[in-house]
């Protein structure tokens, strides 16, 4: 018992200490290389310069970091919501109805490889320089993983489930989709949403550099502004904030959404 508890404590400590030690080691290495080898804040700002820039961007008289985070999350919410609204129904329709799949598949395969940034001119033309315009670029990046994964989830529903459902009286397509196929496809759909969140968040810089939204706030917007001003310490701050928020969003999704849906699916089955 005591040995088990010791092992458990050691494992818990390792789970915390190893990542912390790894991050600290990288920070020390970064600082040493930046200060003693490169010695050029444009080529590589040091960790301490980045910390100073972080403080200025958050609390300084010209700092806008907090507002940038709020605006970017707003753009992300617009884009991801639209991606869910379009991607899941389209994926269901293509995955369930063969005719719809045959009709839409060529369009999807043509549109999917087009980079989100290539849509900027049409974002301006169709949506102006509104928050919706920025959200549209994120939507373009986020919709296809959701659509494809939903489609795959529906295509992979075991036939025996459908047959069993029919035997038990679930004969309509809508009923089968709602009660059999959708629950069965939940793991793929949630995986698709998680990928979409990552891709959509990565589109944020492209979504905000052309003046959409407020034109003044946004993580992508001001990352590019500081680049234009050659203030690379602030560029690194914004890059790290983008990365950190990306992790937080993923953790939230993984622990609160995926676990709930998979647990529910496990209970049903």
């Amino acid at each position: 018992m005591t040995a088990d508890m010791d092992n458990k404590t050691k494992n818990q400590l390792r789970r915390i200490l190893i990542p912390v030690a790894s991050v600290l080691a990288v920070i020390l290495l970064w600082q040493a290389i930046a200060v003693y080898i490169i010695d050029n804040p444009f080529a590589l700002p040091s960790f301490t310069q980045v910390l100073d820039a972080f403080y200025r961007n958050l609390f300084g008289p010209r700092g806008t970091l907090a507002k940038d985070i709020v605006i970017s999350l707003y753009h992300f919410a617009i884009g991801l919501s639209a991606a869910l609204f379009v991607g899941i129904p389209a994926g269901i329709a293509m995955g369930w109805f063969r005719t719809v799949d045959q009709a839409l598949n060529p369009l999807v395969e043509i549109l999917r490889p087009i980079p989100p940034l290539a849509w900027i001119p049409f974002a301006i033309i169709w949506f102006g320089l509104t928050h919706g315009s920025a959200g549209f670029i994120i939507f373009i990046g986020a919709v296809f993983p959701i659509l494809v994964n939903t489609y795959t989830g529906f295509r992979n529903v075991p036939k025996v489930f459908i047959e069993a459902g029919k035997v038990l009286g679930c004969t309509s397509s809508l009923g089968q989709i709602k009660n059999i196929a959708f629950p069965s496809a939940i793991p793929e759909i949630t995986a698709g949403i998680r990928i979409s969140m990552g891709v959509g968040w990565m589109c944020l810089v492209g979504a905000e550099i052309f003046g959409a939204g407020t034109g003044r706030f946004g993580l992508g917007k001001n990352l590019w502004t500081y680049y234009n001003l050659h203030q690379m310490d602030s560029v690194v701050v914004y890059m790290l904030v983008l990365g950190f928020i990306g992790i937080v969003l993923d953790i939230i999704f993984r622990h609160y959404v995926t676990k709930q849906t998979v647990r529910w699916q496990g209970q049903e089955m």
Partner: protein, 333 residues
């Protein structure tokens, strides 16, 4: 296990050090043989001297006696990425707006302005349905211009402030590239743009706006595009720098005397309609010039404005920005 971990970490540190050593500046003041030169420029009629010289082969012809066998160039949408490329050592000579040079110098760029390229030449274009009679009419409007730190952004904000308009609160200024700004005003997504030619001529030709204010009316003979050489080139190859200035003077004078041919060259290199380019030349207030002495005060003023805007740490002196010796030698020759 501990020994293995130590070895792996040591190997990683060694790799990182070797990698980083490759990124460091190798310049140490020694003269090295130079056979290749890289130019940077933007697709603006402001910088037509570069394009004329390139089209006519003058860069290769004039620099060959100095051992230059390869000349490459990079086209940039605005000055900011061009200066980033110069700081990174990717270009040796830049045709660029004076304002991005200032913020790059503040960030540690090792370079100097060696000649002027052009003054004035940008227009504030407003949508046809908007009536403009004075700067007051701009209140509440959305204006697209080049990003923070560029000539257009610096000049516009300074002019608005001088006319009692708060650029942060009374107008909505959106920074973007020329293509995005042209689309934005065409679609009514913005009310006005402040852009260098030939973009204003393109917008007007398409019926999407009219010129409300020329930049020369904002500040007479304001500095715009300049010729910049890297510190490494200046220190180690001053003869090449002097020749670059001579070729630039030759190309500028040729462009002034042969505007139709210059327009054709610009059209061939940049896909803008020839009629639009000629209309731009007929309507713009820009002047192609070469003497850097003309713009010293204007550029030093820009450093004051950029310092007030928080773009740079503090104003700069003329000596920190300019090296006039090459121009003086070039015109004396």
């Amino acid at each position: 296990m501990k020994g293995k971990t130590f070895l792996i970490l040591s190997a990683l540190v060694a790799c990182a050090a070797i990698f980083a050593a490759g990124c460091t500046d190798g310049g140490n003041g020694e003269t090295t043989e130079l056979t290749a030169l890289s130019f940077g420029y933007q697709p603006s009629t402001h910088q037509i001297a570069y394009m004329v010289a390139m089209d006519k082969g003058w860069w290769e012809e004039d620099l060959a006696p100095y051992g230059i066998t390869t000349i490459t160039d990079h086209k940039f949408p605005t000055g900011a990425p061009e200066m980033a490329a110069m700081v990174a050592g990717e270009i040796d000579v830049a045709y660029v707006g004076a304002a991005p040079v200032i913020s790059a110098l503040d960030a540690g760029l090792d370079a100097k302005i060696i000649a002027t390229v052009q003054v004035q030449g940008s227009d504030l274009v407003v949508r046809p349905e908007i009536t403009y009679t004075s700067p007051e009419d701009l209140k509440g409007l959305t204006i697209a211009t080049f990003p923070a730190g560029t000539i257009q952004d610096t000049l516009l904000r300074d002019w608005l402030r001088n006319n009692g308009i708060d650029p942060d609160n009374d107008v909505d200024i959106r920074g973007m590239g020329p293509g995005d700004a042209t689309v934005a005003i065409s679609e009514g997504a913005v009310d006005a743009v402040f852009l260098p030619h030939p973009s204003p001529a393109t917008i007007i030709a398409e019926g999407n706006g009219y010129t409300a204010v020329a930049s020369g009316d904002m500040e007479e003979d304001h500095a715009c595009c300049v010729l910049v050489a890297s510190g490494d080139l200046i220190r180690n190859h001053p003869d090449i720098v002097e020749q670059i200035v001579r070729t630039h003077i030759r190309a500028t004078e040729y462009s002034i005397e042969n505007q139709d041919e210059a327009a054709q060259i610009y059209h061939d290199m940049n896909k803008v309609e020839l009629d639009v380019i000629k209309a731009s030349f007929a309507t713009w207030d820009g002047r192609w010039v070469t003497d850097p002495a003309i713009i010293i005060d204007s550029v030093v003023d820009y450093t004051v404005v950029q310092s007030e805007l928080g773009y740079i740490k503090e104003p700069m002196t003329a000596d920190e920005i300019f090296d006039l010796t090459f121009y003086e030698k070039a015109v004396a020759a």
